[in-house]
């Protein structure tokens, strides 16, 4: 493994990332509180508070998302999110094989971190999917529910909000699954916390 220091996470990425993490976690907890609300649940946040917090964090995470988009358009960080389709499948299988078997046999990672490529193929695909597919969908459906008068009242004899809400909830679930895998994969470094430190200091060891 490389021992040289790489400055991978510029300040704006770190700022975006930790704000994003805070908002996302709040949205997750308040979202679950609303979906599973009951008159006598005490361990979750109250419905009224949840609605308020969820609305506020939803708006903030959208603004923060603009930072991410603008940052990736106007700085070089955007290039890490460009996917080369040719040979992608092979690269993905290689990385998966490494996560499932290789890393237990103390093999070297097939795509080590470098200045040219910050992410391995699997990271790249999942980050692109989460940030450029999942986020737009959940943000748009969320805003639609913030302004329900814009949603067609009845679609196919069913409340139009139902479709919006189902979409929103399903993508919320998918992004939560992403989050858990993301967190777990971030512990693959040694020592375990070094990736988290990198995201704070900006330096990758």
């Amino acid at each position: 493994m490389t021992t040289e220091k790489l400055y991978l996470y510029p300040l704006w990425v770190r700022l975006w990332h930790w704000l994003n993490a805070i908002f996302f976690l709040t949205l997750l907890v308040t979202g679950i509180s609303m979906q599973y609300s009951s008159p006598n649940s005490s361990f979750l946040i109250s419905f009224e508070k949840s609605v308020q917090l969820h609305n506020i964090c939803g708006i903030l995470i959208s603004i923060n998302y603009l930072l991410f988009i603008i940052g990736n358009i106007f700085t070089t960080n955007g290039k890490f999110y460009k996917i080369q389709l040719k040979g992608l499948f092979n690269r993905l299988t290689k990385q998966i094989q490494f996560y499932l078997f290789g890393m237990f046999q103390h093999q070297n990672p097939p795509f080590p971190v470098s200045e040219k490529s910050k992410f391995n193929p699997l990271q790249k695909v999942s980050y692109v999917a989460a940030m450029y597919i999942g986020f737009p969908i959940i943000i748009i459906s969320g805003w639609a529910m913030l302004f329900p008068e814009l949603v067609p009242a009845v679609v196919l004899n069913t409340s139009g909000l139902l479709f919006t809400a189902l979409f929103h909830v399903i993508f919320g679930f998918i992004l939560s699954v992403f989050l858990i895998i993301h967190l777990y994969v971030c512990t693959f470094a040694s020592p375990i916390v070094s990736n988290f430190k990198s995201m704070i200091t900006g330096w990758h060891y």
Binding site: P39, V51, Q52, N157, A165, I180
Partner: protein, 317 residues
Amino acid sequence: MIRPKIKHLIQFISFFFLLTVFPIPKVNADSVPDQNYSCLKCHGHHTYKYQNSDLGIEIKEAMCTKRVIDTLAFIQSNHGKFKCTDCHDPEYNTFPHPGNLRMELMYVCTDCHGGDPEYAKFHFEDIEAAFYESMHYQRAPDAFTCWSCHNPHSYKTHARFGADISKTVLYDNNICLSCHAHVSKYELLTERDSINILKTHSWLPNQELHFRNVRCIECHTQPNDSLLISHVVMPRANAVRNCTSCHSKDSRLMASLYKYQSLESRKERGFLNAVILNNSYVIGANRNQYLNKLSLILFGLLLLGIAIHTLFRIFKH
């Protein structure tokens, strides 16, 4: 050959255009019971004419809005087949109306409907008892009657027959708003300052959405097992403020607004409280049980996978 066709088309279209600009009145006097024309020729309009026999001329005057009756709404109402004089004294046929008619004693609902087996399903007696308990009656026992809410000239059953919930909500809320948004009716019953509904409900987010999708009585009455429409309007302290009384799987909407529908149909497509879905989506009350189970299973598998991977990491270290 084409030209005349276009000409016809243009005539046809302009005919329709004219129709929309000058709508042909849908109601003509014939569809009102004949006798009613003699009243509605004055009470159906904002102006009326009468013959001043002393001067021998016809005089035109304004009818005060409170005395104007919406003819169409009257015909479509539950009592639309009635003659005006079925409820009002036939002496009203004379004009000016005799002064003693001011003291006319009006019927109450149970005068006609009480004990009638045909109307047993409406439970008039139970409703009457509930009404006496209501805070409106308690605060103005002499002035507040069934007619205060059930406009004698336009009351039409909605909740029981209306398949369209949003129309029912609109209709029922307009009953409350006839006073709570109109001081002129409100101030007849109290000395209290008018209550600004928008302000007193400012704690309710998406206020407009809520008022379009739930009725005032959902929060201001206690659902009653035997009545479709609970009639005990409670004092403000007892109003529902707890969001989860609607936004949860035991949503009270199923016992009030959706009571009639929920008796008809049961679970659909795995959704909790599915009947609500035809009109609304209520966070917390409409969950899909299949999606719930699926998400739990996927989540469990994810955690299991991570656990196994972790074990391998520990033991192969």
